[in-house]
């Protein structure tokens, strides 16, 4: 038992501030350093004396002097707040132990979370405690007081006002829909009439808004309601992982994947294999530049054959007839399928595609009558609809002309993320007075005069809008750990509100908006719910401007070059990274160590291309090459990905950092160095030359094939209905010498079910597990040695032809076998079964023979080969979940079905003398999963969701023929292909 106060250790944080060392497990070089030697001494002591002897000096207990009213030491509290990546905010619930936030979960009430939480939301908790975050207000590298910043800035602004009414004042902000920021901007604009505001983020949505402008005459937000869509066509839109409110998308999409007549069908057209692509029933790999002509072909097909009245308007624009070939067949089938489902279909276009494709998408959706059904429109969430390289280029021009004197930057590290051709870093250096509000001492920090550490979302008050405009009030859970300054306070300082803190600023602006008498009660409710009801944008009902579209299409030439595959010039694609986004999460060890959902790469990015292309270029896995585009060069290792379009290379952005962040530095290569403002998403004419070197990539799962083993199963709706008994040999009782253990007397019979039809492989569960169970980060070197510690991993297999593979992902954690092979080989009873069928792992009894892991057919056990938790900097220790033991060196660990949650709920129910309700108990992975693919509960309760799924005809057991009787059941993934394409 640990008293709550143990961990309320005021000294802890200060200590962290004093001694900085890299977070996560450092690279472990072999050989004996000083620490090793000390350990050796310690070891020998342990050997001589009795280990764990309690004669240590007494522990201190530090109780509160005044205990906060609603706080019970030892019981966590949950607060609703919000976390924004880009312009969209996601509502989250943060768990707090005696004032220490330890975990982030989804907010069930929030429209874009629905209780799920994505990678970035969950992993942001680690960034809160990241000791490498910027800590001090600095001027030209010298630490200064916040007060003196205020004073000196004031002076300068007054001077600017006199000189030219502050014409040289510019703001470069992170795109956001925050109403309070909006207020402040209005007031700043009033105070400095000539000041200008710009917004920039590397992964902008300009194309989408311009597409809307082209189709409707004004920029609009496009909302997809996949629960109403029978047929979905994605044009380079990875809507299940990255684009827009992907948590909401995943849930809606998964809800329609249940086999049966209501099952939806997904077509995906894309260059790089994406998470959405793996879920597609049909996937067409095209180079990004070819997708526009695909859209045109589809359009002409719909116009020509299916005579959708509305589209006739632009018939004249479509010259080229559809030529023959497999692609043509594809287009025909898709067109037909779409035409069959008017009002029940949906065409989604990704932000990487040019405006015209978006416009065509709108045209088709409107022609199919999908508006108001599967597609809705609102005004844009961010204050600036244009926040991409175009916007930045405009600012760059001004800077070049020397028209900028003071530039205030709250945008995320533009010096790093700006397209290379703008030479933004040097431009920044040329500005007399740059004020940078940043998280880290990063590339931009190095080129700014005033540098101000930003407060983490969990450290400050703010507000933000969700994808549909719904407003959340984000509340802090802890005072800034590293003297971070809230954005609101920074902006407020420009209108002279230097003595107000973010809370007052926020509250006042809201009080102005809501003069109601019961503001106090409302405010409380908003905070409790995590959202302000009724603030969603009112729907817009735009209509397509056919003539404009007509002209645009006529203007657009045929994009594809006729050259046959193999001779075409290489196309380069820039994509946001699944793990580090645009680079803002590059210092997050959890995300760095998380295997990429598709490539299973950890800690590095690579130049991704298809095996065929690699073969053509004579490149091998991990070979280092020089990529050259428009005269700019960068070195990168190549990595083959089945299903990638030929003659194209995909470069994930966000790596190759040169800032002061110890975790991010030296990981991967910087693809921004090749990015050009005029072609930010894809470009042609890339040349590749091998460097003749090899880079050891940290891949956690490098074997593509399933070797014909029945592991992660998928089938088609038709096949499955034809022969439902096909799975019988993969489930049901197996022969055994032993009388089966009787679990009927036990109060529960815990079990899990994982529905592969729903699982997209997004990996949110992996991070949830890592956060819940204090799973250490081991570092790139250890991952290379395949010693990663994730209790829950997501296997990814390719099957079928290597060019057009079918991909399946399968989450695998301990399956809690009833006849567990790991248990009978443990010589010390360190892993045994509970009466409820849990496969228990007792860390403190483990001597570390690793026999259990050897004998585990699922290889889900993880061993602490080194003291991975030892080097944790003090602030990270505050983040540990006090309900879970922090494992030391030399012991085995594995998934426990979140037994700490089970026991908490059990104790509560036993105190209240009531049974545990179904759904009352969720494992961390289940809770995070946006697709609701994971279910946990007791098999005793016949009506529980898990027992229904265990009886499901799609249920099967992994490695069933070994007779291990796993408690985790899998449900076959069912696909719904179009018979016309079979």
């Amino acid at each position: 038992m640990k008293s709550p106060s143990d961990r309320v250790d005021e000294a802890g944080v200060d200590r962290a501030v004093e001694r900085e060392f890299p977070m996560g497990a450092a690279e472990t070089a072999d050989g004996m350093d000083r620490r090793t030697f000390v350990q050796l001494l310690g070891t020998s002591l342990a050997l001589s004396g009795l280990a764990g002897c309690p004669r240590a000096p007494p522990e201190k207990i530090l109780p509160y002097t005044r205990q906060p009213p609603d706080l019970t030491p030892g019981n966590p509290l949950h607060y609703a707040t919000a976390f924004a990546t880009g312009a969209y905010a996601t509502g989250v619930l943060a768990t707090s132990w005696e004032g220490r936030p330890t975990k982030i979960e989804g907010n069930p009430l929030h429209p874009s979370s629905r209780g799920a939480a994505g990678l970035f939301e969950q992993a942001s908790i680690l960034q809160l405690y990241d000791p490498q975050r910027a800590r001090l207000v600095k001027y030209k590298g010298v630490a200064r007081a916040w007060k003196s910043f205020l004073a000196e800035t004031r002076q300068r602004l007054d001077y600017l006002l006199e000189a030219n009414r502050a014409a040289g004042l510019r703001f470069l902000l992170d795109p956001s829909g925050s109403p309070t920021v909006e207020d402040l901007r209005r007031r700043i604009a009033a105070a400095f009439p000539n000041a200008r505001f710009h917004a920039y983020e590397a992964l902008d949505r300009d194309n989408a808004y311009q597409g809307a402008r082209l189709a409707f005459g004004r920029p609009l937000e496009t909302l997809n309601e996949f629960e109403n869509a029978d047929v979905i066509l994605s044009l380079d839109a990875d809507f299940l992982q990255c684009v827009g409110p992907h948590l909401r998308h995943s849930r809606q999409f998964a809800a329609r994947r249940a086999p049966g007549p209501a099952m939806n069908r997904l077509y995906a057209v894309e260059s790089m294999l994406s998470v959405t692509g793996t879920m597609a029933d049909h996937r067409l790999r095209l180079r990004s530049s070819e997708i526009q002509s695909f859209a045109l072909e589809l359009l002409s097909e719909l116009v020509g054959k299916h005579r959708l009245g509305a589209l006739a308007a632009i018939a004249s624009a479509l010259g080229q007839p559809l030529d023959a070939g497999p692609r043509a067949a594809w287009v025909r089938a898709v067109a037909a399928d779409l035409a069959r489902h008017p009002g029940r279909s949906s065409l989604v276009v990704g932000p990487r595609q040019p405006a015209l494709v978006h416009a065509i998408g709108h045209a088709i959706n409107s022609a199919l009558g999908n508006f108001e059904q599967t597609v809705r429109f609102t005004r844009p969430v961010p204050l600036e609809a244009e926040a991409g390289s175009a916007a930045l280029a405009a600012l760059a021009a001004e800077i070049r002309d020397g028209r900028v004197d003071t530039l205030v930057i709250t945008s995320r590290n533009p010096a790093y993320t700006a397209p290379a051709n703008l030479e933004f870093p040097s431009l920044l250096s040329s500005i007399p007075n740059v004020i940078y509000h940043g998280w880290y001492e990063d590339e931009t920090w190095a080129r700014s005069a005033w540098t101000i550490p930003a407060a983490h979302p969990l450290e400050t008050w703010s507000d933000a809008r969700a994808h549909d405009g719904t407003i959340s009030i984000a509340q802090p859970l802890i005072a800034p750990l590293f003297n971070g300054i809230p954005e609101l306070e920074l902006l407020a300082s420009f209108v002279g509100e230097v003595d107000k803190n973010a809370y007052q600023i926020l509250r006042e602006s809201w009080q102005k908006k809501t003069p109601a008498a019961d503001f106090e009660q409302r405010w409380e409710r908003w905070l409790a719910d995590g959202l302000v009801p009724g603030t969603a944008f009112s729907p817009e009902r735009p209509s397509v401007r056919w003539d404009a579209l007509n002209a645009a299409i006529r203007g657009a030439g045929k994009q594809d070059d006729a050259a046959p595959p193999g001779q075409r010039p290489l196309e380069v694609n820039f994509v946001g990274d699944y793990k580090v986004y645009d680079g803002r999460f590059a210092n997050n060890a959890w995300l760095q160590e998380l295997p990429d959902p598709i490539t299973k790469l950890a800690w590095d990015n690579a130049a991704l291309l298809s095996p065929a292309t690699a073969q053509r270029l004579g490149l091998g896995q991990g070979e280092v090459v020089t990529l050259e585009l428009r005269g700019r060069r960068v070195d990168a290792p190549v990595f083959m990905v089945p299903g990638h379009a030929d003659d194209a290379v995909t470069l994930p952005l966000g790596y190759g950092r040169s800032g002061m962040e110890g975790v991010a530095r030296g990981m991967g290569f910087n693809a921004y160095l090749l990015r050009h403002a005029s072609a930010p998403w894809f470009d042609s004419g890339l040349t590749i030359t091998s460097r003749g070197k090899h880079h050891p990539l940290a891949v956690t799962h490098d074997h593509w094939s399933m070797e014909g083993r029945p592991l992660a199963l998928q089938s088609t709706l038709a096949e499955f209905q034809k022969n439902p008994g096909a799975l019988d040999e993969l489930r049901g009782p197996t022969e055994t010498f032993h009388r089966p253990v009787d679990y009927d007397q036990a109060p529960h019979r815990w079990a899990m079910a994982i529905d592969l039809s729903r699982c997209t492989g997004c990996s949110a569960c992996v991070v949830a597990c890592q956060s819940e169970n204090n799973i250490p980060v081991v570092g790139r070197e250890q991952v290379r040695r395949s010693r990663e510690m994730h209790w829950l991993r997501i296997d990814r297999y390719f099957s079928g032809p290597i060019e057009e593979p079918s991909v399946i992902t399968q989450p695998v954690a301990c399956v809690h076998c009833e006849l567990a092979p790991c248990e009978y080989v443990c010589p010390v009873n360190a892993t045994v079964h509970s009466d409820e069928g849990l496969n228990e792992m007792v860390y403190n009894r483990c001597v570390g023979t690793r026999y259990c892991s050897n004998n585990c057919p699922y290889k889900v056990r993880r061993f602490n080969y080194l003291h991975y938790t030892q080097d944790k900097p003090a602030p990270e220790k505050l983040m540990m979940n006090p309900d879970v033991t922090v494992r030391a060196r030399g012991v085995m660990e594995k998934c426990t079905y979140c037994v700490q949650r089970i026991e908490r709920v059990r104790i509560q129910s036993r105190i209240e003398n009531r049974p545990i309700r179904d759904g009352e108990l969720q494992t961390a992975c289940q809770q995070a999963c946006p697709a609701e693919a994971i279910t946990f509960g007791s098999l005793h309760d016949q009506s529980s969701r898990v027992s229904r799924l265990h009886r499901d005809p799609r249920r099967y057991d992994l490695l069933h023929d070994l007779g291990t009787r796993p408690r985790t059941a899998y449900l076959v993934r069912i696909k719904n292909p179009n018979p016309e394409l079979a």
Partner: protein
């Protein structure tokens, strides 16, 4: 007459041999005895505190209920060490000049926590939950002993896994009515096992001896 060894050698060598054989046995035996002794378990250690807090006075003389200070014992895994304000609730009125309490007042008004020395210490990998025990009729005295007789709080029970198991395997005779959990001197009128059985029925007590009951 020149034997290599004198007659005495026989005895010497034989004794030596016996010693060599006995030595390891004795060593292990001693270690084992030590591990079972309070020396190892740390029972009855007198642990100094920065403030001379006397349970005898508060519990026996003033008859203050345990839960007044250890207030979260029924709701939380932790009984809770009282916040300084709880001390001040009374000591703002009584003994509010006493030099013994200077430290308490100082800490309270400067809002600095009082650093108590832990008395009952379980290893980091053991999860003990007070609320379930208290709610199922395990009294404070059962594990913590006659606190009302302790000048300095001390650990009475060995707090070893074996000790926990003894009760978890056979809890009946350690149970008492829930309304009497904080009673120091309570003794059942009827025979203990009989009462225990009734209480197990009444409170629906199901002690568990699974590893994860305590180790997570």
């Amino acid at each position: 007459m020149s034997a290599l060894f004198p007659p005495a050698a026989n005895t010497i060598v034989r004794v030596a041999a016996l010693v060599l054989l006995a030595a390891p046995i004795i060593a292990v035996g001693t270690l084992y005895a030590y591990a079972n002794s309070p020396l190892y378990t740390g029972q009855h250690d007198q642990i100094e505190q920065v403030i001379q807090f006397d349970h005898r006075h508060h519990v026996r003389d003033d008859g203050i209920d345990c839960r007044y200070c250890h207030s979260s014992v029924e709701r939380s895994p932790y009984a809770g060490i009282p916040p300084t304000e709880v001390c001040m609730n009374c000591h703002a009125q009584v003994w509010n000049k006493s030099p013994l309490l200077d430290e308490v007042r100082a800490r309270y008004f400067t809002d600095r926590a009082i650093a108590w020395n832990r008395v009952h210490r379980l290893p980091q990998f053991v999860y003990f939950n007070h609320s379930i025990h208290v709610n199922k009729g395990v009294g404070c005295v059962t594990c913590h002993g006659r606190v009302d007789r302790m000048a300095m709080a001390e650990q009475v029970a060995p707090l070893t896994m074996g000790w926990c198991l003894d009760c978890h395997r056979n809890p009946a005779k350690h149970l008492r009515p829930v309304d009497l959990i904080t009673e120091m001197s309570w003794e059942p009128a009827v025979n203990r096992d009989q009462l225990g059985k009734e209480l197990m029925e009444k409170y629906d007590v199901h002690t568990r001896t699974n590893c994860t009951t305590c180790h997570r």
